[in-house]
Point group: C2
Chain length 723, copies 2
Amino acid sequence: MQTIKQWIVATLVALCTVTQMHAQETTKTLTLDDLIPGGRSYSRFAPRTIKQLQWCGDKYFYVKGDSVWQGKPGSKKKEQVLFTRKELNQAMLAAGLKEVGQLPYFAAPYRDQTVLSFTAKKHRIYYNFRTNKVEDVYQVNGRWANLDYTPTSGMIAYTDGNNLAILNKGNTITKVTAEKDPDIVCGTSVHRDEFGIHKGTFWSPSGKQLAFYRMDQTMVTDYPLVNVAARSAELNAIKYPMAGMKSHEVTVGIYNTETEQTVYLDTDEPKDRYFTNIQWSPDGQYLYVAEVNRAQNESKLVRYRTATGKEDRLVFTETHPKYVEPQQPVLFLKNNPEQFIWQSQRDGFNHLYLYTAEGALIKQLTQGDWVVTDVLGFDSAGQNLFYVSTEVSPLERHLYKLNLQTGKRIQLTTEAGVHHTQVSASGTYFIDSYSSQNNPRTIAIAPTRKGKATELLAVNNPFTKHDVPTIKLGTIKAADGVTDLHYRLVTPSHLDPNKKYPAIVYVYGGPHAQLITNSWRAGTGGWDVYMAERGYIMFTLDSRGSANRGLEFENVIHRNLGVAEMADQLKGTDFLKSLGYVDANRIGVHGWSYGGFMTTNLMLSHPEVFKVGAAGGPVIDWSYYEVMYGERYMDTPQENPAGYKAANMKNKAGNLKGHLLLIHGDIDPVVLMQHTFSFLGACVDARTYPDYYIYPRHEHNVIGKDRVHLYEKITRYFDDYLK
Amino acid sequence: MQTIKQWIVATLVALCTVTQMHAQETTKTLTLDDLIPGGRSYSRFAPRTIKQLQWCGDKYFYVKGDSVWQGKPGSKKKEQVLFTRKELNQAMLAAGLKEVGQLPYFAAPYRDQTVLSFTAKKHRIYYNFRTNKVEDVYQVNGRWANLDYTPTSGMIAYTDGNNLAILNKGNTITKVTAEKDPDIVCGTSVHRDEFGIHKGTFWSPSGKQLAFYRMDQTMVTDYPLVNVAARSAELNAIKYPMAGMKSHEVTVGIYNTETEQTVYLDTDEPKDRYFTNIQWSPDGQYLYVAEVNRAQNESKLVRYRTATGKEDRLVFTETHPKYVEPQQPVLFLKNNPEQFIWQSQRDGFNHLYLYTAEGALIKQLTQGDWVVTDVLGFDSAGQNLFYVSTEVSPLERHLYKLNLQTGKRIQLTTEAGVHHTQVSASGTYFIDSYSSQNNPRTIAIAPTRKGKATELLAVNNPFTKHDVPTIKLGTIKAADGVTDLHYRLVTPSHLDPNKKYPAIVYVYGGPHAQLITNSWRAGTGGWDVYMAERGYIMFTLDSRGSANRGLEFENVIHRNLGVAEMADQLKGTDFLKSLGYVDANRIGVHGWSYGGFMTTNLMLSHPEVFKVGAAGGPVIDWSYYEVMYGERYMDTPQENPAGYKAANMKNKAGNLKGHLLLIHGDIDPVVLMQHTFSFLGACVDARTYPDYYIYPRHEHNVIGKDRVHLYEKITRYFDDYLK
């Protein structure tokens, strides 16, 4: 559920907008419009930031009003205006382009040039701010997607419908593929964005060769989605391979822009395996591909010769009785094309391993009961690697500098919290944007050697005039009696410990997500804040199966989705009940996607505990879920009939005792509406009575302004039956 | 909404199963399973009947257990067993057929032969009960539909997919059409069953020619229905022409079984008009077709030469500034092929007119402020016509014998109530099955001249041991201040007039339906009975627009659906409020289809009156409804933008104040799910909060066992918010 994961990350970041401390004289109550992304007054309460702050070489720049500002760390010179919109528009007009009404989103594609790129008025533009001239312009058709620029040759790969083409300098077009069947798709992400895949084109270092995915979906079942917003509803069929059913077939092409020939990797049978984590060798002679079998218990890193598409060698193989899940391509050392770094969970935690290009293990670079969550690259000498990990705490993210020779690592971020960092071109400085439970946001520039950080921004609590709840983090033991689980407890600002309050568990529970971190407000969502102030105790527990706690913490759920997660959530409600002010007879639960599955499962499996639930886009039957994610955790329905049966909510429909509201977006392409529709049918058969709501025009979640409506709807449901 | 109308008739008949009188010592409470068709114990409380009672010539027969019984009215001979299942099975075996496990459904296709027909074990069988022999057998493929037998030649027309064929004696097959495009459909009903159309084949009197419909739907928009009951949801596209959009094109073919040639009527432009009420002339030389223009304000009765398909003459034309709606074909007199009877609302009420075959009006046969609702045929001499009308009361149906010469009519049914009658072959006797508010069912045989009826069955009140509500009928004035409207008031058996009760209006409100009649329990539905005993006052009003009150009573709604109907319903709630025991602040409303539209409209237009509503399969936007019904009452959206706008519930979504539950079957092919989905979207935009429920696997209503679930769901909704 990459889609979910991405949504969760985006939403949680957006949601973390509330403060703990409230002044004695506070009087105002926050509304859903204040607290929910998309709300009319939401932006007034979102912590400020510095727009577009990023590196260009070793200087940083950002946007402020109609100007782009630049700063040079370590210099005594003040930040100065790099250029204004007016100056940019002069250059635009001089290049025969139309003016922009506001500054666009810039990228800095080069380490060593004073050029920024952006898209405006159907053009991709490369603007030199030193000379104040547009250096390159490409005309871009609005229909194109997946634009991928390579700075070395200045070409842009793009997709037009199901085919791949290249836009050359001078705006000529080269068609790379010419697939007539729209169900054969080239140049896009494949395998439903699982295995860390998020794009479908890969330029060689020289910019002269282009590797790309080709996905044949002709053998995959059509799934009918319906657009009711049309005058007369229209069919939008998608290809949706369900667990245990026929899957798509992916190959990898390599297009040579000089010979204008495409070679496809000679990958042979079985055709339904996964081709992931594509990487070029520095010399462009080889392509490294992590190939995962359909059973997902074996990953082979294979090196292909790009000239012929033939396999050059099996670099190495990783296996696991449950599943393997490579998510990052090999990373060649900066100054040594004979060595690369590989990320693996093979010792139980995601760590870095140094290999020769041929696959001989040189050494493990990091080790410990914590995980590497990101790798940012090398310094200019290639001696040090920058990475992010959970070493300090699973709740935090810190930047480290690792000496590849000595193995010595230095923690570069010191303040407690979650740090989002960008390292400058040479590796000398980094931008550090961080928050913690009580700090909305601080942004600083700091050296990667010794030296003092320079603070660019310190955001104040935006809620000083409002009542906001108290947020407490802590740990309890999982159902295994051993593992520590992190919880978050959100209580009303004016809590009366002698009263009994209803409580709501906000749950996700599936892999790849972590709801509790030491970031602003500890990740508490706006709705939790709102509900706490309405008089609910809001509780969240990152149960086993969730992210960033290591392989075994996650894969305990394998083949039995819901079982360990529910056992842990019950430990959470035991804890809730132990609080004197929680009414044990008024506990509810809410979650979306995997959290909708958990909500439904908890309501049906433990009606004695959970009285009211709101399940959004819930998985009801894992055999309706897609092949990649579904089979990783559940194997196929043929291989694991008992697991599928136990996790099929339709078989528990008769257990419904409380009030369960199911919610679905009517064009959800991830968890199909078939899940909830069929559950309603099972409840009719079982004569149980859930409630239901549809959000038309929405996919796997309800976003934009309608999200406020969604949470008002859910609020009313809990108010009606739990308050 | 023929589908609706048919459903209403079927359901109301089934629902009328409750008695008014309740003994003093009653103790039991009826459950939804007792009261709702499809309920587990429903059949225990349905009034008994005589199975398959019908005429064969001038003798009647019926099924009792494993025997078919016969009686001869006027004879002193007792009823006797005509044949047993055992005897039938002997004949079946002798004919090389398999035995039947229970007696099948019989038809009596001949006036003068001792032969009954039935379908069993994939055969259509003609069984002579006098000789105890199977006389004819036809092998029938389970895929075939629309079987139409002609006794004169013994051929069976049928449809196989989209094509029409004939099964001849001896089981040879003649293919009549060979359309390759599945969107060209032959031999089925057309124009969505409007204009009284319910079949697509019409045998000539000689049985040698077959007229049939051919409907070209290729130009009609595909509408995607989705079957989620499949492993992976499947598309079931239907053709659904929406108001104002391109409609299908119908032609009429005439197949000559002797020449094996088909002639199509030369009907020319415009192609989207309606070809209705097909009738053969007695000599087979002509076909009479009532042709209605797309605007539905003109109906031409046209006579075609069957040999050439050319128009012979325009017989006559009927027009109306609002709409014309011919629903019955011409009926040739029995012994005079030069005259026919035509039904028309031209004087404001549906009456009978005698015409020459060429279209000269001879005389109006019936007249008055009442309507002819059915014509049953002639006596053997052809001197008298039997018809049913509302002359006694709009709430009743009585059988009349009309002397065509003198115009004198005699009322044949005397007991108050609604009579369902069948006249014997010669017209000497009739079967009279009737009920009235306090009479569950009486079945008698009576002469059509003087003489005494013989009672075959008198059903006792099936609810003597249960509490049942009191039902009262009456009239109030419509919003026009003049018209009498009939209401039905259902109150709890233990009504305390000093208490205040919540009230629920059960509403339909659209044309072609009448909810209140002097039939068993006055048509009160099982749910109304159930709710009354739960402590609700249940109320229904047949407002202007409803059936059997004449043309102007109905067509006042033209171009402004909802306006007059709602004004009348408010008169109904005024009346309710005038009752001392109704709580004016707790009035709810429930209805389905047009009644769902009314429910939604009342909730949104009069939130000060209606606090809780349950709208099933509601029309939300008439531009989403189909061409034939929709344009009759609303014209096209292009012609009547103001009317469509005013009747579009999406424009009133912001008015929602109370609790409105919308319900839809997920494969509803009549009122498409687009209606409620788009309404939910409008409510999201308007930030109002309806509730919603989907019944998977159901079409335009929830029938079968799931209907009990439906009414439990609706009951809980009213209990939650209105009780």
